[in-house]
Symmetry: C2
Subunit: 219 residues, 2 copies
DNA sequence: AAATAAAATTAGGTCAGCCTAATTTTATAC
DNA sequence: GTATAAAATTAGGCTGACCTAATTTTATTT
């Protein structure tokens, strides 16, 4: 059996190792979990004994294959529940995270596979994050930050790199939704702000900070 | 905040006091929760301090209004989730209990009210158990055990008084479902077995043990 | 390379929620 | 109404998952 705490550790180790590959440091984990670093050291050692992670003193933790499998399952569940909450119960994309954080720990393979089917086997959640399949495989991710694009490109908004409610609400307020077509009219050289035309209609300007968190594919 | 343990205690105290009204004994709670009686005594005292229950030494526990409210909310959630599992994900009625036991602890008023609406505000779960509304009120229950009926009555199967998988599977195997019309052709005086005609077609005989756990309303 | 700062670890402690064993209280039988 | 059985409680302990404070290790600066 895997405890709630273990599930949260595994999930966060996975997410942190996704960003900065290599071992996940004690402090970054402590920060992500909002738990004291001393507690993290302790817990990670126990997880190493259970072969969920490998741990090297003062270097950090890395998921084993077994640990990664569990982490991916939790992420799969979280994102499937988010799809359900938004598509079926009409929650907004900035309202679903806390609920999905609870639902992701519900343990039933049958449930999750039926939910997946019921939702039509979605490959991405409402924020554009990819959903691993039952075997833990993702579809190939072709997205990149809008910031990496050049002027005059036509792209499609498919996800966000920042999941804070404030950012999601900012996008909503600016009427920017996943699926929107964006045309880059101009990039201001001085501050890298992007002058966009949205869905061939509205013109808007967004700062570098915003643009780096908008994920797109070329259209 | 209410812990998982507290929620389970409250739910079980409610259910036990429903059956045998009056204070819930330590041993019955211990039995229901599969927890040592000494632990129950301890825990119930702490809950009394928090005003979730009243507790009298060696007599047992009773829910306060506050405790009852929490218990009813958990029962509401459990039963709504069961409806969802059966109606939307096509689970069978003997498969949903363990999953609903987990889902009932997910905490979000918005979620539960939206789920309720999405399901069409059901008043009973797949076993015929009534679902309290958001205020904790039940619709009036007019059901009684089939065993209390007399010969030649026409009744409708609306619920079960026993929720074990073996009983549910027994009914399924005998093709008996909620909503079925039952006509009591004869009651065997010797052993009180019931000779039924189901939906005006199939004839079947059921023992007293079965019949006392079938809840019906007069048709 | 020594000094300092930051990160990680060790040692010792707390609290929730359980346990067993021993004792006390309540109920039941003779 | 005393003996016995059953139920409940008390006392003391354990484990998981956290904490703080002190120490050690690693990284950074000069």
């Amino acid at each position: 059996m895997i405890s709630l705490a273990e599930e949260n550790y595994l999930k966060n180790i996975y997410k942190l190792s996704e960003k900065n590959s290599g071992a996940v440091t004690t402090s970054s984990l402590a920060d992500a979990l909002q738990i004291n670093a001393a507690s993290v050291t302790d817990f990670v050692k126990k997880m190493a004994e259970k072969k969920m992670v490998t741990y090297q003193k003062s270097k950090g933790a890395m998921l084993t294959e077994a640990g990664k499998k569990i982490a991916l399952k939790i992420i799969r569940k979280h994102r499937l529940w988010e799809v359900w909450l938004v598509n079926t119960l009409n929650f907004k994309w900035d309202e679903v995270h806390d609920i999905a954080e609870q639902l992701e720990h519900v343990n039933s393979d049958m449930l999750i596979e039926r939910l997946d089917n019921h939702l039509g086997n979605p490959t991405a959640d409402p924020h554009g994050d990819l959903i691993p399949d039952a075997k833990g495989k993702f579809i190939k991710d072709r997205s990149k930050p809008l910031l990496k694009c050049i002027a005059k490109q036509k792209v499609k908004f498919i996800g966000v790199a920042e999941h804070s409610n404030s950012f999601l609400q900012f996008l909503t307020k600016n009427n920017l939704k996943i699926g929107d077509e964006l045309f880059i009219e101009r990039i201001e050289a001085y501050d890298q702000s992007f002058h966009l035309k949205i869905n061939k209609k509205t013109k808007k300007v967004f700062s570098k900070e915003v643009v780096k968190n908008i994920l797109i594919v070329l259209a």
